[in-house]
Symmetry: C2
């Protein structure tokens, strides 16, 4: 029982292709990080929050109002965005104002939006 048969029931893979691709494959650690970034961006509430923050910093309540969702739901998602260092915050009195932490995110979202819609 060869190695290949453990995972792939095909007889012969195109070895040259596999080797070539393997030779300049990015580090799995980086691929994994990138996947995690996309995972964070793969939720409609979080993406909506990010687009909201494109224009202005906003407090939690503003965001909840804008997106017509509960404060709790928004707060939970902001926590995820914080964990991914996509947003940062500053406190002012009882309010907490969130804003984008990173220009890269702006670029990625803006470019992505271009891709899916032309605007």
């Amino acid at each position: 029982m060869s190695d290949e048969n453990l995972v792939c029931n095909c007889k012969v893979v195109h070895k040259e292709i596999v080797d070539k691709v393997k030779s300049d494959y990015p580090r799995e650690e980086c691929v994994h990080s990138l996947t995690n970034l996309f995972k964070v961006l793969g939720d409609n509430t979080r993406v909506r929050i990010i687009f909201a923050l494109f224009n202005s910093e906003m407090c939690v309540c503003d965001i909840a109002e804008l997106l017509d969702m509960t404060q709790s739901a928004i707060s939970h998602q902001l926590r995820v965005l914080r964990g991914a260092r996509i947003v940062k915050y500053r406190k002012e009195g009882k309010s907490v104002f969130y804003s984008l932490d990173d220009d890269h995110i702006y670029d990625i979202l803006a470019r992505g939006l271009e891709h899916v819609c032309h605007e």
Copy 2:
């Protein structure tokens, strides 16, 4: 019971900010499409497949071998990538060769990789 209280238990939101943000918010339909794209990209197996196809078209078996996963798992994920029009395929004999369908995806992934790792 006002509208705000249905979703947000805060007394007063910053109305000017909410209105301003609302005024040039992208179409929800586009935001939703973008989220769906990120959702597809938010899985490690799929992202690994895409990076594999950066260099060369590959048949299902090649990909399974490269990523050390079962043919079935790869095939299921290729189906998702096909559905998102991220990959296309051509048949040759018994094999099916997959390749990237869209340069935008290349750009988005390459830029994303830059963001998470510097290489």
